[in-house]
Structure formats: C-alpha cells, structure tokens
C-alpha cells in the first residue's frame, strides 16, 4: 500500500509537468486546430535559457533564492513566449489558410531547427543545472516520504494551471480567446482582434512550456537537446487524452498520463511502460472518441 501511494505521487509529479506542457499544445490547438510539434522544443529552450540566465545573472545570489527564482521564471517565460510568437510568425502564419497538415510539417521542420540550434549553441552533451538552489529535504506525510520538491513542482504546476483557467474563464481577454476558439470569423465580427488573440495564445502556451522546462531543469538537474521531443509527444498524448482544445482536459490528461505510466511501470513492466500508456489511451479513445473531457459535437447535416 505504501508502495502504491509512493508510486501515485511519483506519477503525479511527472504528470504535472506533462500537464503544463500539454496546456500549450491544447491552447494553440483550440485556436488554430494546429498540432504544434515544435512545442516540446520550446520547453527545451526554456530549460536551456533558464540555465544561461541562472549562470550569467546570478540572481539567486543577489536577491535571495526565492525571489531570484521567481524573477528567473518570469524572464524565462517571457523569452520563451516571445520565441513562440516569432515561431508562429515565421512558420505558421503563412499557412493559416492551407491544409491543416501542411502546418504540421512546418511544425516538424521548426522542431528540427530548434533542437539542432540548441545542439549547436550549447553542445551535444547534456547540460547540468547548479545544485543546492532548491531544498532537498523529504517530508513525512502519513508514513510516506515525499521529497519537498515534488510537492513544490506539483503545486507550481497546479497554480499555473488554475491561474490560466481563471484567466480564460473570468477575464475579458480570456473570453475573447474562447470566442476565437469557437469561431474565428464570428469573433472577428464581434470586434475581437483575432490576430492579437492568436499572438497572445502563442505567448502563453510557449511561456507555460518554458516554465515547465525551467522546473525540469531546476528539479532534475540534467537537460539535453533532444528531451523536448519525448516530453512533447507525452504532452500531446496528454492533451488528446483529456480532449484536445480543452484546458481542464489537458490538466486531467497530463496528471492521468503520469499516473498511468507510473502504475503501469510499477505493476506491469518498466520496459513496457510507454506501450501500456498508449494502450490505455487507445482504449479510452475507443470508448470516448473525443477524449475524457472533449465535447462530442454532432455534425449538422
């Protein structure tokens, strides 16, 4: 039983990261119906930028650990967000009216460009975050030993997700995003600046991905130029699992995927872990063809 709960928390921690990256996927998808395969690489860029800024600015020395990391996070999110906007301008915007899959290939091309650029700039070897910035003690919760950083990661992911959800649901801008996601033309007629909304989405999504990259770097320490592909694929899976285009769906999908992986690995086989996760995904989609929280839209005939 103890093992079960430990594995559950293991799964939730990984799932929180998946969920955070999945949000970027799902937001972009919601507006443009575009699968942004370069999103995982934006996550990697976040991790590398975090490392560079951490090393060059020495923020944690001058303003203290917590404040330093917060400033760092804001800077990384801002920079990755801007890169997201530039990515959209360069690789996706010219393809708005083209067949959907053309933009997918453009995204794959962008992913190749990003990962190889990181390799050329930072070198092909893994890079390592400085250690000792974060607390490493272990909490004892009802007999379970849980490293405090796991909780911090999970909490941070949840706070960012809930923040985004409130932003989307409660603010005027959020309403504009939702309107544009439902029908761009109608939204335009209602006076919504759809181009600005798209720009905003291409800022927020990558920014969240960048935040996830920074968190992975800070917590796990090791980053490498190919990691975005794997995380991106997992996040895409999570977004689909929850119902793509649906923000709570991405959260649920991410956390659930993390738990499925962890449980599958623990109780069936580690070597088959990803196969098990995909198998469960396929089963879920057979029963619910639009994901867990995705709406089933009956087509008007």
């Amino acid at each position: 039983m103890e093992q079960f709960f430990t594995q559950l928390t293991n799964g939730l921690a990984v799932g929180g990261i998946y969920a955070l990256i999945a949000l970027g996927y799902t937001m972009v998808y919601g507006i443009l119906k575009l699968i942004n395969f370069a999103h995982g690489d934006l996550f990697t860029i976040g991790a590398y930028l975090g490392l560079t800024l951490l090393a060059s600015l020495a923020l944690t020395d001058t303003v203290g650990a917590v404040a330093g990391l917060l400033v760092l996070a804001v800077m990384v999110m801002g920079l990755v967000g801007v890169i997201g906007i530039l990515l959209d301008r360069a690789a996706y915007k010219p393809l708005r009216t083209s067949p959907r899959l053309s933009a997918v290939v453009s995204a794959l091309g962008a992913s190749i460009v990003f990962s190889n650029t990181i390799m050329l700039v930072y070198g092909p070897s893994p890079r390592v975050y400085p250690q000792g910035l974060l607390p490493t003690h272990v909490l004892d919760v009802f007999g379970l030993s849980i490293p405090v950083m796991r909780l911090v990661i999970l909490t941070t992911s949840l706070v960012l997700m809930v923040g985004l959800y409130i932003f989307i649901q409660k603010t005027r801008t959020g309403t504009a995003i939702r309107a544009a996601a439902i029908d761009q033309d109608a939204a335009r007629l209602m006076g919504i600046n759809v181009d600005r909304v798209i720009m905003l989405v291409f800022f927020i999504g990558p920014a969240l991905g960048g935040a996830a990259g920074l968190m992975v770097g800070l917590h796990y320490g090791q980053i490498n130029f190919t990691m975005g592909w794997l995380y991106g694929l997992k996040a895409f899976t999570a977004a689909i699992l929850g119902g793509i285009g649906n923000i709570p769906g991405a959260m649920v999908g991410g956390l659930l995927l993390g738990v499925i992986e962890s449980m599958g690995a623990a109780y069936i086989s580690n070597a088959w872990k990803d196969a098990i996760a995909f198998f469960v995904l396929i089963l879920i989609l057979i029963v619910r063809p639009t994901g867990l929280l995705g709406e089933r839209v009956a087509e008007k005939i």
């Binding site: 997918v104 990003f114 899976t237 396929i282």
Partner: protein
C-alpha cells in the same frame, strides 16, 4: 494548370524517367545507395498516400506496417531459409492483416485523435520488438544475416551491387506507380477521395465509408509490408531502431511536403526528404539544421505541397491524353496506355 505547363509535363516526366534509369551508368555506389533509399521511401510514401493522401486519415504510424513486413521476412528467411523474394507477398499479407486488426477499432476516430492513436500503435510495435515479443524478433539486437534477393539465380545485393538492386527496386516502383495510378482513377480510389472531402456526402452517395477507411489501411499496410521485405533484404540487418517513430514522421512529411494525394508529388517528396540530408552531408553537424529550415521554407512556399494533385480527366470533355502520358512516362518500362 496552364496549357504550356501541361504540354511540358509529358516530356519532362519522360526525361526524368530516362535519367533515373540511366543513373547506374554514371553514379557510384554511394549515390546509388541514396537513390535506392529514395526509391524505398518513395514506395513507403506512395503506400501511406493511400491512407493519408487519398482517404485523408491522419496516420503517423506507417512505420508499424513497414516493421511487420520487414520482420516477417527476416524471421522466416533466417529461420527456414525461404528466399526473400518469395516472402514479398507474404510480408504484405502479414502487414495488411495486422493493419485490419488494429485499425478496425480506431477507424472511426477523427483527425488528431487518429493521429495520436497511430503514433501509439507504432510505438507499441517498436516496444514489442525491443522486448522480443514472441521470442522471435531478437529484441533490441534485431535480426542479422537476412539474404539478399535473388532472381533467376542471380543475387541482387543492395550492398555489393547497388546498381542491380537499383533496377529491382525501380521495377517495383514502376509497378507500384502503375497500379496506384490505376487505383486512383478507379471506383475505389475515387471513393477514398470522396470520403476524404466529405464523409457525410460520401455516405449519402452510397459509399460504405467505414469499410473504405479500413480497406485503405489494409492496402497501404500491405504495400508497406512488401517494402519492409525489400528494405530488410537490402540492408540484411534490421533492428527496432530502424522503425522508430521518427521513420513514420519521415513518411508523413514525404506525403504532405510532396502533395497529399498526388503520385508525382510523393515521388518528389521522397527525393527531397531523403535526398536533402545526404546532399548536406558536407555540412556535417549543421546539416539537419539546414534541412529543417528548407523544410519550413518549402512548406510556406508551397502550402498545398510542392506538386498537389491535378484534376483528373475522364476522356470526356477536354481530354488531351495527359494522364495516360503521365503514367507511361513514369513507369518507363511498361508504358501502359491508360484511358477509361
């Protein structure tokens, strides 16, 4: 398409086909090996085109069928010594049956949901191969010592004599182009395009869309399985690394970049996606970066694909024999006249 462009098309295809056929007389083994790879991926692209191009199903796991075919050949050839070319149809059947079984429950999924499920399928296949499922795939070691194909007592090694192999794979490519061209211009090919453009209207016109979706998977997989046979006997060694998810992505890019639903487009797509990284070999570690930039640029430059499908004529209103010519120029050898 302008009249001038149409007029130039036929001789242009003829010139390309002639150059292709003459390649072994001018090129070294390395260049021929690259051309052989291009031909193999062109075949894979054409088989994926049935599913992704004509039927419009988002399928990014074609490598799974390729793998089933390659492993069928490898296992049977290395265990019982059955000549690899005999296994060509069997590899296709194995992959086709596999596709029918796995595609059946997922065929109703739309768009991106199908995309992730097919990705999941190819990953499950790869992981199963790595973990040596059934104990016959050699696990992560793969299978080595697969025979080269042999025809009329002559061994056609893709390693020692890429020129010989070149003509084998070219013959198969010509055959494939011909039959897929005929398929495209038939009741079956049209049905796939109808359900791609509007599934409701297709169903309302009396087309059993679910059956045709499944059939598209079956035929595409059957062909990919046969290409798996050719690949395994070319390289004589296969391991799960040859069937990673990225290989499926490569096939996907070939179809979309070239022009979904267009046979000449897919051929050009294979040439670019497989050829360009080799062309950039001199740039060493910068080569993939350049490749990525070129990929994005080409997509932006030609959003519909580089050679999107042209409308077909049926010899009724304004037939100029263009389609028949297109086919005969491409397949070079048979030159079959195609006219309804």
């Amino acid at each position: 398409m302008t009249v001038a462009a149409r007029k130039i098309k036929k001789p242009l295809y003829a010139v390309i086909a002639a150059c292709w056929l003459a390649a072994p007389f001018f090129l070294g083994n390395y260049q021929l090996d690259v051309l052989n790879n291009i031909a193999i991926y062109a075949l894979l692209g054409l088989s994926l085109n049935i599913i992704l191009g004509y039927a419009g199903m988002f399928h990014m796991g074609h490598g799974a069928f390729f793998a089933v075919g390659a492993y069928t050949t490898a296992v049977i050839n290395t265990t019982w010594g059955v000549p690899v070319l005999w296994l060509l149809p069997l590899s296709g059947v194995a992959a086709g049956l596999f596709a029918l079984v796995v595609a059946k429950p997922i065929i109703h999924l739309r768009g991106d949901y199908l995309l992730i499920v097919t990705i999941g399928m190819v990953e499950i296949v790869r992981i199963a191969l790595v973990n040596n499922v059934f104990g016959i795939t050699g696990g992560s070691n793969g299978i080595f010592g697969i025979d080269a194909p042999s025809l009329f007592g002559r061994t056609i090694s893709g390693i020692v004599a890429p020129g010989d192999y070149f003509y084998l794979v070219t013959a198969f490519l010509a055959f494939t182009i011909t039959v897929f061209y005929l398929l495209e211009h038939s009741r079956f090919g049209r049905a796939l395009q109808f359900l791609n453009q509007d599934p409701v209207a297709a169903e309302g016109s009396g087309i059993d869309t679910a059956r045709y979706r499944l059939a598209a998977f079956g035929i595409g997989a059957f062909w990919a399985g046969m290409v798996g046979n050719l690949y395994a006997s070319k390289i004589t060694f296969i391991s799960p690394e040859s069937f990673s998810f990225w290989e499926s992505v490569v096939m996907f890019m070939i179809v979309i970049l070239g022009g979904a639903g267009s046979i000449p487009g897919v051929l050009l797509g294979a040439f670019l996606i497989i050829g360009l990284p080799e062309l950039f070999q001199g740039l060493q570690q910068y080569r993939l970066l350049l490749f990525g930039i070129v990929l994005v640029a080409m997509m932006i430059f030609r959003p519909q694909g580089i050679l999107p499908p042209a409308p077909r004529s049926y010899g009724v209103a304004e037939d100029d024999g263009e389609n028949g010519g297109q086919n005969s120029a491409q397949d070079g050898a048979s030159g079959g006249e195609v006219r309804p």
